[in-house]
Amino acid sequence: MPEPETTGLLAMPPRLPPWLSRAMEPLPLAPLQPALALMLACVGRSYPDLYDRLGEHAEKRFGVDPTDLPLAFVLEPRPGRPVARAVRTLPAGLDTCIRGPLAGLIGMAEGTLDGDALFFSRVLWVEGDVAASLALRNAIDDARIDFGKLLLGGFGPLGARLAEFIRVRMRARPVAGGSSWN
């Protein structure tokens, strides 16, 4: 389980290099869908308390938009029949949408980065139903989801290695001169 670390506090999550985004653009999304479904099923099994925290917001439609990737995700947690799918662009009619660089989104989901701090620094942005986004953030923060294990479940060993890559390479770096003090 990844532990929160103080080095993350003053950190700006880095953005993925633009070439990676361009390189990924032509790739089909179809192979992603079954992996996402597997991951979601795994989340539902491993973290049942998550739905308690989401409450009424479990019925909402969430958009998650990693701004440095050429794709986004639609998430409908609905207990019993959850849906997650990758899309090129987010459809209209979502209840709420969270945007930010992938490393920021993962850091927040893993609890290594503070969502509010990312919001205050304008790294993350929320549109639509702010309460739903907050409930999702709080539920995930409490669940302490292990994304390495999750990706292993969804993508097999390749996924686990991807998670490790993200964890090491995308680790938030301290900002130079980032402490303002008065």
């Binding site: 670390e5 506090l9 989401l54 609890g111 620094s121 942005w125 702010v130 907050l134 923060d141 409490d142």
Partner: protein, 325 residues
């Protein structure tokens, strides 16, 4: 000085315990506590487990039941008090005369703290609570400077607890209906200030505009640090000009005041932020634990470097230093 740390979820409670909290405060997942936010707070079962975990590590758990009971529904607040006592809470943090009276009568051995929401801002008010309900500690409103705190400590038999980090109320706590006026949701009755359900962000002419209950609270340029659309930290127009007429989007960081607060005789230091994630909890608690350790060894308090955690990414020592008013 004791370090009192927030926990909005069991994971945060664990993070606070691991990071060196002396006590953790939390509340039930309903309107009986003043941080009734979506996805936050404890079920009865989670509270029992959380208290057991904290006690295994020698950490206390204080349960905040600090809203004002709704007329006709006092049962909800009574049940919260009874269940927190049964779960083994080390103290209850209460604000309403009704809940204080009930707890004092029905659980006379239970340790009671006066919540900041009670707005007990002077030794006379504190004495009233102590004499009426046997309260052992008072959480002081964020309107006092260190000299005033020192004189309260001198005059009061009650222990004192003061906020040292996190969100900063510029109005007296427990007597503010600004949020209620804009949204219909009241901090005192519903446990929410500037509720997320009434917040909207929209883009207008390259600016991000935040609104609360339809009222524009602020407008940010592309790369300007942002704050919550909390009413008292918004930008408004007056005949004397426009700007942050109440307070800038800053949060409290009184790390540099710790030696003075210790000198003043304060019993406990409180970190605000039950609504924040466990990254915040772990980082802030560890940072203050280090400062306190340094103080105990006679070093100067090291700079905590928590600016990124702050609203608007700026901090203030608030009312602790004279001149804030």
């Amino acid at each position: 000085m004791e370090l009192i740390c927030p926990a909005g979820t069991p994971a945060s409670l664990e993070a606070a315990v691991e990071a060196g909290a002396d006590a953790v405060y939390c509340g039930f997942r309903d309107e009986t506590n003043a941080r009734n936010f979506p996805g936050l707070n404890f079920s009865r079962h989670e509270l029992r487990k959380g208290i057991a975990l904290a006690h295994r590590h020698g950490v206390k758990v204080l349960v905040a039941i600090n809203t004002f009971a709704r007329a006709g529904s006092f049962g909800l607040w009574q049940a919260a008090i009874d269940d927190a006592v049964a779960a083994g809470a080390d103290a209850l943090i209460l604000a309403d005369l009704a809940t204080l009276d009930y707890a004092a009568r029905h659980h006379p051995t239970q340790r009671l703290h006066v919540s900041v929401q009670a707005g007990a801002a002077n030794p006379d008010a504190i004495r009233f609570y102590a004499e009426s309900f046997g309260t052992r500690r008072v959480v002081l409103p964020r309107v006092l400077n260190v000299m005033e705190i020192a004189s309260i400590v001198r005059e009061s038999a009650c222990e004192t607890e003061v906020f040292v980090f996190g969100g900063l109320c510029v109005m007296e706590e427990g007597r503010c209906s600004l949020s209620s006026y804009a949204t219909g949701q009241s901090p005192n009755m519903n446990g929410v200030c500037s509720p997320a359900s009434h917040v909207a962000y929209t883009e207008r002419e390259g600016q991000i505009v935040s609104t609360l209950g339809g009222f524009t609270i602020n407008s940010f340029g592309k790369d300007e640090p942002a704050g919550y659309p909390t009413l008292c930290k918004g930008r408004f127009n007056t005949p004397k000009g426009s700007g942050y007429i109440f307070e800038e989007p800053v949060s409290l960081d009184a790390a540099v005041m710790l030696p003075a607060l210790r000198e003043a005789g304060v019993t406990a230091l409180k970190i605000e932020g039950r609504q924040r994630g466990r990254a915040y909890i772990a980082g802030v608690v560890r940072s203050f634990r280090n400062i306190l350790a340094a103080l105990d060894e006679g070093h100067r308090a090291p700079i905590s470097g928590l600016a990124a955690m702050a609203e608007g990414q700026a901090s203030t020592v608030g009312a602790y230093r004279k001149g804030w008013r």
